[in-house]
Symmetry: C2
Subunit: 131 residues, 2 copies
């Protein structure tokens, strides 16, 4: 009886383990949509902070020249973890809108929202020479 | 002989101690001039970072309205240690020039330097509504 219950326990735990491995491999991760502040919630200080970093300024300058771009097209070969943080700051400031498109993140510059809230600000910054 | 050398040692150390206390009281602390970056050394990212804080933005807005002001006139009743840090950030960004005048620090906005390096930037920021 002890041998039988041991055998059942072993078989069930083995099946459970393999099932977990199988599902972990096959599961497509659920991509939650990114959060973005509304245009009337944008903060001048947060926008200036987001643009006070040369990597983020470079991303915004690139996005100002194209309509839409993936993170990979904008990262300049920088490590993914670093770039992810910068995109988060840009999104939270309301400068960048990111949309999931399959496994890609498609980014656009929220030019109209920024312009309606802070007229002339973005051009005055992006036309300057930085370091 | 031992008593005499002990007496001499006691008297000399007492005189030395009192002299130190006297000079410490009477010495006027030497105020070193503040360091400021040259106009051609100003960094766009550093200027934007300096203006990404509501207290510093408020100080710069006040300075834009007057020719010169002491730290006390600009601090809005905030603690001295907090305000000192903010003035340091503003000086290092090249936005504010601070000069010693007796025991006061006189501050001016480096409007011409900022304008020559980043045309239109300061007005585009200071005319915006912040939080």
């Amino acid at each position: 009886m002890t041998f039988l219950s041991g055998l059942i326990s072993f078989v069930s735990s083995t099946i459970y383990e393999h099932w977990n491995k199988y599902t972990a491999k096959c599961m497509i991760p659920l991509m939650r949509p990114f959060k973005h502040p509304a245009a009337n919630e944008l903060s001048l200080e947060r926008v200036l902070y987001a643009l006070s970093d040369s990597i983020r300024l470079d991303i915004v300058r690139q996005l100002a020249r194209v309509e839409v771009a993936t993170c990979g097209e904008l990262d300049g070969g920088r490590p993914k973890s670093t770039v992810s943080h910068h995109f988060k700051v840009l999104r939270e400031a309301g400068l960048v809108f990111t949309k999931n498109n399959g496994t890609n993140h498609m980014n656009t510059l929220r030019r109209e929202d920024i312009e309606s809230r802070f007229p002339g600000l973005l051009d005055a910054i992006l036309t300057q020479k930085s370091d």
